[in-house]
């Protein structure tokens, strides 16, 4: 098993944390993982992305040329990475942030997820990334949903632990979509 | 309202600085002064290493980029080739008061006829908020996570006071840019500093108390207040040398 995932969007959307949640979940299930963030001048422009690899075997380059999965939280992000997605791979795109037109015109296998809006209704935009991870789990069985709960305790600051039940509800919602 | 016109010496582009950062204001003020003195054709600026590393993209006159802390030495070279030109360095507190301490002290000691604009924001902006030599006592930074402790990290450097002790430094003033009133007096100081250089009197420097909302983790409004409440307390504004000079 080897999954190469790019998560892309704007700073403040929880892009880098989502990557860490995936990586920590992978470790908790005994897998190898790498997490590589965009850093430097790119960050100043407000964009954020990270490359996450989860594998049973040894991981080569942490930098992904052709992802199996692209999780897109903005339109510029899909414009930048779409063409690199493997033919056997797929895209998870946020419906409202990426836009219906863009999603409809994509030549790759693409899932339109109403994550940001649903997260807003749940009271916090941070849940959007968990909805996305839920959908990722559904499509790939990359790890067990329970593992994410343990990962959240490791990744989130203690003062955010009280939100974990809601995070898990968002994850479950994503798995239904 | 001629004041609101875009200064000729400033490129018409969007700067990369964060909202509420003093760098952008300082650039504008310098450009206005240069316009008013009519020296666009003979000014040469030296960019240093810090958030303003690429300000040669924003100023519309000749500039040269220097290694971290070395701007006063580079300026010395530039000035000695064309003594008739007006040469200035633009340096942050990490650049000027840490790694570049020797260069600034000796440029002043030589009475080098250059001007330094010293942006003191009490932190390393570019590299994500480490302690600077000018970080205040108790101030939390990424390398003083428990607050600057004088028993471990010593005391903030008062560069204007230090430089004013040097005979070759003839004009030394500390200003702030956190509100309009202070910006106007900062502009007067910067203009005078350039005039001192043009009169061939010696080394001149203006220390500008500045904001770094991003790394202070404050809003732009709270940052301005932080300058007023904390920085101005430790770093007293005013002229330290050369107020009497008629230029």
């Amino acid at each position: 098993m080897n999954y190469e995932i790019i998560i892309a969007g704007f700073g403040g959307q929880g892009i880098l944390s989502a990557g860490r949640i995936i990586s920590v979940s992978a470790i908790l299930e005994g897998k190898n993982t790498t997490w590589f963030p965009s850093y430097g001048p790119e960050m100043r422009g407000g964009t954020a992305n990270c490359h996450v690899i989860v594998s049973d075997g040894e991981i080569g380059s942490p930098i992904i040329n052709n992802p199996d999965v692209l999780i897109c939280m903005t339109k510029p992000a899909i414009d930048k990475f779409e063409s690199y997605v493997k033919n056997t791979g797929f895209i998870l795109a946020d419906m409202s942030l990426v836009g219906e037109d863009k999603i409809k015109s994509s030549k790759k296998q693409i899932f339109s997820i109403d994550a940001a809006k649903k997260a807003g209704e749940m009271g916090h935009k941070a849940y959007a990334m968990l909805i996305m991870i839920g959908k990722l789990i559904k499509e790939t069985k990359i790890f067990k949903p329970e593992t994410v709960e343990k990962a959240l305790y490791e990744v989130l600051k203690p003062e955010l632990h009280r939100l974990i039940p809601d995070d898990m509800a968002a994850l479950a919602m994503g798995m239904e979509m | 309202m001629p004041k609101r016109l875009h200064p000729k010496s400033l490129e018409n582009t969007i700067m990369h600085y964060c909202p509420g950062c003093s760098h952008g204001i300082a650039h504008r003020v310098i450009a206005e002064v240069i316009d008013e003195l009519g020296i666009e054709g003979k000014i040469v600026g030296i960019a240093s290493v810090g958030c303003s590393y690429n300000n040669y993209l924003y100023f519309k006159f000749d500039m040269q980029q220097a290694a971290h802390g070395r701007a006063p030495a580079v300026a010395t070279g530039v000035k000695r080739v064309h003594p008739e030109n007006v040469v200035f360095t633009y340096q942050g507190d990490g650049d000027l008061a840490a790694i570049g301490t020797a260069e600034i002290i000796h440029a002043a000691a030589r009475g080098e006829k250059i001007t330094t604009i010293f942006i003191n924001n009490a932190i390393y902006g570019m590299t994500s908020g480490q302690m600077a030599p000018t970080t205040l006592i108790g101030q939390v930074t990424t390398t003083s996570p428990l607050g600057r402790d004088t028993s471990l990290q010593g005391f903030p450097l008062k560069m204007s006071e230090i430089l004013s002790q040097i005979d070759g430094a003839v004009f030394v003033e500390r200003v702030s840019m956190h509100d309009v009133k202070h910006i106007l007096s900062a502009k007067r100081a910067i203009k005078k500093a350039f005039k001192v250089q043009m009169a061939g009197l010696g080394f001149s420097i203006v220390e500008v108390l500045s904001t770094c909302p991003t790394n202070w983790r404050l809003s732009p409004v709270d940052s301005a207040k932080w300058v007023e409440d904390n920085m101005m307390e430790y770093y007293k504004l005013g002229n330290y040398k050369g107020a009497e000079l008629e230029v």
């Binding site: 963030p37 080569g60 942490p62 040329n65 | 971290h68 840490a98 994500s128 990424t142």
Partner: protein, 355 residues
């Protein structure tokens, strides 16, 4: 059982420093190694150690010279432009035979350059950097685990030979997170340092540490001793990793991040029935000369892949010594070669060299 943790490369180095028993860190901020300096500012005091943010890289390396001369394990870290500034101190440390460790999380140059990953400090690290006839041991980790283990090892090697050891990573390795397993307990190499400037306590003759010898014969004797020590290190301490080299169509020499990218290329190439081998130097100095030289018996074409304009390739050519063609592929400016690019270059080279 030791636990696997997800940790940034820069912080894995920080953890290694503390677990190796080093209690003296001197740094100065520079991207992309800032997380290491920040980590030290928090955890060094917690471990009862000394953290100083120096006024410059020059000051930091000289603090290392002083602390290591006084008998402590001491380290400084920086990235390319800062490492250039340290070269004077590094030369003095080599001349005075003081054991010290320096970390370089490379970005790309020349000049202020950029902050993205690079490997363009190879010449500086392995051929000297500062003035004089000296060598540093240069270790090139290629993942989080090695960042940790080789940093621990760096202190042992420094103490064993009284040399400076450089750990050379790059911005990507420093910035990425990976699963790393820390040993429950490290057992640092222990050696007496009777030469250290600890204060004589009136119990021994005075010690002095210096690199200045005005008398040519004295200085030559020092140089002869240094060279003998370097010979021994070349004999004893070479590290490398060889993968699928026997009978390969082409063998790639690459270290650090470039080696990791190459590993993916090997799989990609296998799908097209091209057999690619990898020789990964782990010590850049001492360079695995014999291992690289013997590649000529295992394949017909050798290629060096680097994040530079071609630096290690010179050592590869020296080692292969004309027995087989040696090619080069690299990218600069912080751009990383893609797997496809490297594969295309492999095909182009094979077409040219193999009839």
């Amino acid at each position: 059982m030791p636990k696997k943790v997800l940790i940034k490369g820069n912080e894995a180095i920080g953890e290694a420093i503390i677990r190796a028993g080093c209690r003296h860190y001197f740094g100065y901020p520079i991207t992309p190694q800032n997380e290491l300096t920040n980590y030290m500012s928090k955890y060094m005091p917690e471990a009862g150690g000394v953290f100083i943010q120096a006024e410059s890289e020059i000051a930091a390396i000289n603090m290392v010279y002083g602390a290591a001369g006084a008998g402590a394990r001491a380290i400084t870290s920086s990235s390319s432009p800062g490492i250039s500034l340290k070269q004077e101190g590094i030369s003095y440390i080599a001349g005075a035979e003081v054991p010290a460790v320096v970390v370089n999380v490379m970005r790309c140059g020349p000049g202020l350059g950029g902050i993205m990953p690079g490997q363009s400090d190879y010449f500086q690290a392995v051929k000297g950097g500062g003035h004089g006839d000296y060598r540093n041991i240069v270790l090139a980790p290629n993942n989080g685990q090695e960042l940790y283990e080789l940093t621990v090892k760096a202190f042992d090697l420094a103490d064993k030979y009284r040399v400076l050891v450089m750990v050379m990573a790059d911005g990507a390795l420093g910035q990425m997170m990976e699963n790393v397993e820390f040993k429950d307990k490290e057992t640092p190499y222990k050696i007496d340092k009777p030469w250290a400037t600890t204060g004589s306590g009136m119990k021994r003759k005075k010690n002095y540490i210096t690199s200045v010898y005005i008398n040519p014969d004295e200085l030559e004797a020092v140089n002869i001793r240094l060279q003998a020590k370097y010979k021994e290190i070349e004999k004893e301490e070479v590290l490398f990793e060889e993968t699928d080299c026997e009978g390969a169509d082409i063998i790639i020499c690459a270290y650090g991040l470039a080696a990791r990218i190459t590993r993916n290329v090997m799989k990609l190439a296998a799908e097209e029935s091209i057999k690619v081998g990898l020789l990964r130097p782990i010590t850049l100095w001492p360079f695995p000369k014999d291992a690289v030289g013997s590649l000529a018996d295992k394949t017909d074409v050798i290629m060096s892949v680097e994040l530079s304009a071609g630096q290690m390739v010179e050592d590869v050519r020296l080692a292969v010594n004309g027995k087989k063609p040696v090619h080069f592929y690299g990218r600069t400016g912080g751009n990383l070669p893609t797997q496809k690019e490297i594969l295309n270059e492999i095909k182009r080279v094979l077409e040219k060299e193999v009839k």
